[in-house]
């Protein structure tokens, strides 16, 4: 269908068609763009909005276009070409930057990632893409074709694209309003339009062509991502704080050095070299590289998930699969704060596309697959470990399935071997070994940053054998496999006990506040997360006797459990119904089993859910499992009849979307506030950086004795790392200011949430536990040396 659509929209024309003044316009536009961006980047002149937009086109859009229109990718769908070429460009920027970083110092260039070498690298990349396309020309885009596309757009397609573009606009405006202290109305409107657009996309599925579906999905995803990523005028979020630190470290040094900060984050080129390259060319404030431009890239991921689903399933299933991927809360509440995983998942999608791409030769697919895995590894170590686990299980499953057919070979010489007996597969032992070598080579040998994976494995095995207690994140409570987790108070007590042990062990070298231990042991109590107040609609329901908090929680749990049940149903359908199994092919089926086994392992084995994040693993697994989930839901609803099954599955998906995006809890109240819609709630308290806090951190960087380890704070302590070019180092350390951990001579930050709500939080074993902070412990024992109403600093 994709090919038919392409033919319909873009009828074949000779690539030599000439445009304005007899020259092909892409070359003219490309040269002009390159010239402008070179001048802007090399002179350091900043043109607000236009400069970064042109830079992004120069660095990403134009190379992607050039690669996508080579004959290499002929025969693949538009979205697939987008995925391959985007991965090529991202990989080239990271590896090109790495090559420059390693080679240029020998040529006397001590800062190889400064703007001049980076712009020259980008010029080389663009020239290479242009020459590649000239040597292997595919179908180019011409004015005539663009006009045909414009005239061929249907009314409903226009409405869908217009509505999803409106979601993006409202998301940006809504985030700005919340940042300025205004209300949630515009963000709420963005969510409402997003859900409506998703509903109409499903309703009009037969009248909307694939290109319009892809654009709609991209814009919906982008809107949801921006709603979260644009919160706050500074770097907001959990992992992104350290990601920003390593980015600033690379940019400040003008080079990437793993020795400057020996940390797994610094080993990810996606958050060191890639943002530095983007920053040098785009000339935009550092935080917006992550807040905006990484989201522009990651919004392509659901489009690729749709494309993967379209390999084997019809349009409605693929649409629902993409919507389940987008609607999973981790996608829009956490992924904008984990930029290295965003880039990593793009490469995972491309790797899965390559595994399932049967139009290319096996050799090409294997080589491209290994290259995509290199992209995953240098982008994000955890995504690679999870993906490697999935691949290993998939390989093992297929090997086991082949055993009976090797023992009893096909008798008839002319008979076709069944698919699983075929020796041809992408995830073979050779590919698997190559990927393992890449993982070990980069993580253990090149960067020596993968030690944590061994200690995690050791702790996990030890916990499984009962040699140690082992811990599990509270998020496994959403799992059907392991529903019971510790209470918040139990986690806090465990944390306190570990601190008291630490105090005892280090008492000879560190002076702690004497009263702090008593205060924490007896008085620090875990608190429940504050809930949003009931809204007007919520009051109406409550007056009618409906427990609003219960309804919100029940729907969320139904979504969590429902998705797991649907995945299980989908896999069972594979196993039971041969027709369904044959539909997807064995390699994809084995990947599904691999995802399930890895998900189960992360849930059940101790420690893994803490270090890798069960929800993030599920998000990665959804790349493969999302269509299986949809197929499972349709299979379950088949009890209501063939005609009703897809309709009910679609209705349920939209229903989940209304809840999981935060629309329903926001309309009703009585649920923890979501950062994208409120200036309150756990993420706001923990991760939002206020102007007063930024001012306080800047003041602190001018004081003596703060670094490397003389600073304590609560909540996400990495918010207070010094990231300006003059102060950023890889040796900073902000310790938790838990009352029993307070040191006599440390600088202690009381942040906005403590001063205005009294709430602090501790992050332990993958859980975030709020508690009431005993401010008197500080005010009675330390000097209050800084106060601006939003931040107090004690010493």
């Amino acid at each position: 269908m994709a090919e038919a659509t392409r033919q319909e929209i873009l009828p074949a024309e000779p690539h030599t068609a000439r445009g304005w003044r007899g020259y092909p316009w892409p070359e003219i536009a490309g040269c002009g763009l390159a010239l402008i961006v070179n001048v802007l980047a090399l002179t350091g002149v900043g043109v607000p909005f236009l400069g970064p937009a042109l830079g992004f086109c120069f660095l990403i859009v134009l190379p992607v276009y050039l690669i996508a229109t080579t004959s290499f990718l002929a025969g693949t769908s538009q979205a697939e070409r987008l995925g391959y070429s985007l991965a090529c460009v991202l990989g080239a920027l990271m590896l090109g930057g790495l090559a420059a970083d390693l080679i240029l110092p020998f040529a006397g260039v001590s800062r190889p990632l400064d703007p001049v070498p980076v712009v020259l690298l980008a010029d080389l990349l663009l020239a290479g893409c242009y020459l590649l396309r000239r040597r292997f020309p595919g179908q180019a885009l011409t004015w005539t074709q663009l006009n045909r596309v414009r005239h061929a757009v249907r009314a409903r397609e226009t409405r869908l694209i217009g509505a999803s573009a409106l979601v993006v606009v409202l998301a940006v405006l809504g985030a700005n309003r919340l940042n300025n202290g205004a209300g949630d109305q515009v963000s709420l409107a963005a969510l409402a339009v997003a859900v409506l657009t998703a509903g109409f996309l499903l309703w009009w599925r037969n009248e909307v062509r694939e290109i319009a579906t892809l654009v709609t999905l991209y814009l919906l995803s982008l809107g949801l991502l921006l709603m979260t990523s644009l919160r706050g005028w500074y770097v907001t979020g959990h992992d992104i704080q350290t990601e920003y630190q390593v980015f600033q470290l690379t940019q400040a040094h003008g080079s990437w050095q793993i020795g400057a900060f020996h940390n797994a984050y610094n080993a990810c080129l996606s958050i060191t070299i890639l943002p530095t390259v983007l920053g040098d060319v785009l000339r935009v404030d550092g935080p917006y590289i992550y807040k905006l431009f990484f989201q522009l890239l990651f919004a392509a991921c659901p489009v690729l998930v749709y494309t993967i689903a379209r390999r084997y399933w019809p349009v409605p299933v693929a649409m629902l699969a993409a919507l389940y991927f987008i609607g999973f809360p981790t996608f829009f509440t956490d992924m904008p704060f984990i930029n290295r995983q965003e880039v990593g998942l793009i490469f995972v999608c491309v790797a899965v596309l390559l595994i399932t791409n049967e139009s290319w030769s096996v050799r090409t697919r294997r080589l491209a697959f290994i290259a995509a895995c290199v992209g995953v590894e240098i982008s994000h170590y955890s995504s690679m470990y999870i993906f490697l686990g999935i691949l290993a299980v998939a390989w093992a499953v297929r090997a086991i399935m082949r055993v009976p057919h090797q023992v009893r070979p096909v008798k008839a010489a002319h008979a076709e071997p069944p698919p699983w007996a075929s020796p041809v597969r992408i995830v073979g032992i050779g590919s698997l070994l190559a990927v393992a070598v890449v993982t070990i080579g980069w993580g253990f040998l090149a960067t020596q940053s993968a030690g944590a994976v061994l200690s995690d494995a050791s702790a996990s095995i030890s916990g499984l054998l009962g040699h140690s207690a082992g811990t599990r994140s509270g998020n496994v409570g959403y799992s059907l496999l392991f529903g019971k987790t510790q209470t918040s108070q139990q986690v806090l007590n465990d944390y306190n006990a570990s601190i008291l042990k630490l105090r005892a062990a280090t008492a000879h070298e560190t002076s702690y506040l004497e009263t702090a231990g008593v205060a924490s042991h007896d008085q620090v109590k875990a608190l429940a997360e504050p809930l949003l107040p009931l809204t007007g609609a919520g009051h109406l329901l409550a007056d009618a006797g409906v427990p609003v908090a219960g309804v919100n929680t029940a729907i969320r749990l139904a979504a969590a459990y429902g998705e797991q049940v649907f995945v299980a149903a989908g896999v069972i359908a594979f196993l039971v119904v041969r027709r369904v199994r044959r539909q997807v092919g064995w390699e994809f089926f084995c990947l599904c089993l691999g995802c399930l086994v890895v998900l189960g392992a992360v849930t059940v084995l101790p420690d893994l859910s803490v270090d890798y994040g069960i929800l993030r693993v599920f998000q990665e697994s959804l790349i493969v499992l999302a269509p299986v989930l949809v197929a499972g839901s349709i299979a379950i609803f088949r009890a209501f009849g063939e005609a009703w099954a897809p309709k009910l599955a679609a209705a349920l998906c939209v229903g989940f979307l209304i809840s999981t995006t935060g629309l329903l809890p926001q309309v009703l109240g009585d649920y923890p506030a979501q950062l994208s819609l409120n200036n309150s709630g756990p993420y706001y308290n923990d991760y939002y950086v206020h102007p007063q806090e930024a001012a306080g951190t800047q003041w602190l960087s001018s004081q003596l004795g703060v670094l490397p380890s003389g600073l304590q704070a609560t909540h996400a302590t990495n918010r207070f790392l010094f990231t300006s070019p003059g102060t950023v180092t890889g040796k900073q350390f902000v310790e938790d200011a838990f009352p029993s951990l307070l040191r006599q001579h440390a600088w202690v930050i009381l942040d906005y949430s403590i001063l205005h709500g009294g709430l602090a939080s501790v992050s332990y074993d993958g859980d975030i536990i709020p508690y009431k902070y005993p401010v008197r412990v500080l005010s009675q024992n330390k000097n209050l040396v800084y106060d601006n109403g939003g931040m107090e600093i004690y010493r």
């Binding site: 005239h151 061929a152 757009v153 249907r154 009314a155 409903r156 226009t158 409405r159 217009g162 405006l173 809504g174 700005n176 309003r177 940042n179 300025n180 202290g181 205004a182 515009v186 009009w204 009248e207 005028w233 206020h690 102007p691 007063q692 001012a695 306080g696 003041w699 004081q703 003596l704 004795g705 024992n781 330390k782 000097n783 209050l784 040396v785 800084y786 106060d787 601006n788 109403g789 939003g790 600093i793 010493r795």
Partner: protein, 166 residues
């Protein structure tokens, strides 16, 4: 062509919708409240706050003798968006909560500017430790430090352990 019935027909007058949206936006810009809402949606609004901080916080003394001069450097930064008259009070507070004002002064600080105060105090709390506070009447911000005061008889003993000099 019947646009509403046939999904295959292209929407012919998107410009009409664009014109209506433009008129609505234009109309909203006529009213100050509308302009304010647009400003909230499009531009970062400045945050209003006042910062009070010791300039060399790591040099604050932890002990001294009664009525001995302790030099103090602190800053008042005006981020209120307009010129503001700031009055500071230097006070001493003993462990029982008895408060005495040691000195006071005021100054007009322009928006975005910092007033660096170079002064000194001679705390004389009867009970120790004595807390020396800098407060801004009319503002919530305050800073303070604890100092253990030794009796005057110890005058010949070494002076402040850590001076708060520049």
């Amino acid at each position: 062509m019947n646009r509403s019935d046939n999904p295959g027909v292209r929407l012919r007058r998107p410009s009409a919708i664009a014109a209506i949206v433009a008129v609505l936006i234009g109309a909203s810009l006529v009213f100050p409240a509308g302009r304010h809402q647009w400003a909230l949606s499009l531009f970062r609004q400045p945050s209003r706050f006042t910062t009070l901080a010791f300039k060399y916080a790591w040099l604050l003394p932890s002990s001294s003798t009664i009525r001995e001069r302790i030099p103090l450097f602190f800053t008042i930064t005006n981020e209120e968006g307009r010129a503001t008259r700031y009055k500071y009070e230097l006070r001493q507070v003993d462990p029982l909560g008895n408060t005495q004002t040691l000195s006071t002064a005021s100054n007009v600080v322009t928006a975005g500017a910092t007033w660096t105060v170079d002064t000194s105090v001679r705390p004389y709390c009867n009970l120790s430790p004595c807390r020396v506070e800098v407060v801004l009447p009319g503002h919530h911000e305050n800073i303070n430090f604890l100092v253990v005061l030794h009796a005057a008889a110890r005058k010949a003993a070494p002076k402040a352990k850590r001076g708060h000099g520049g």
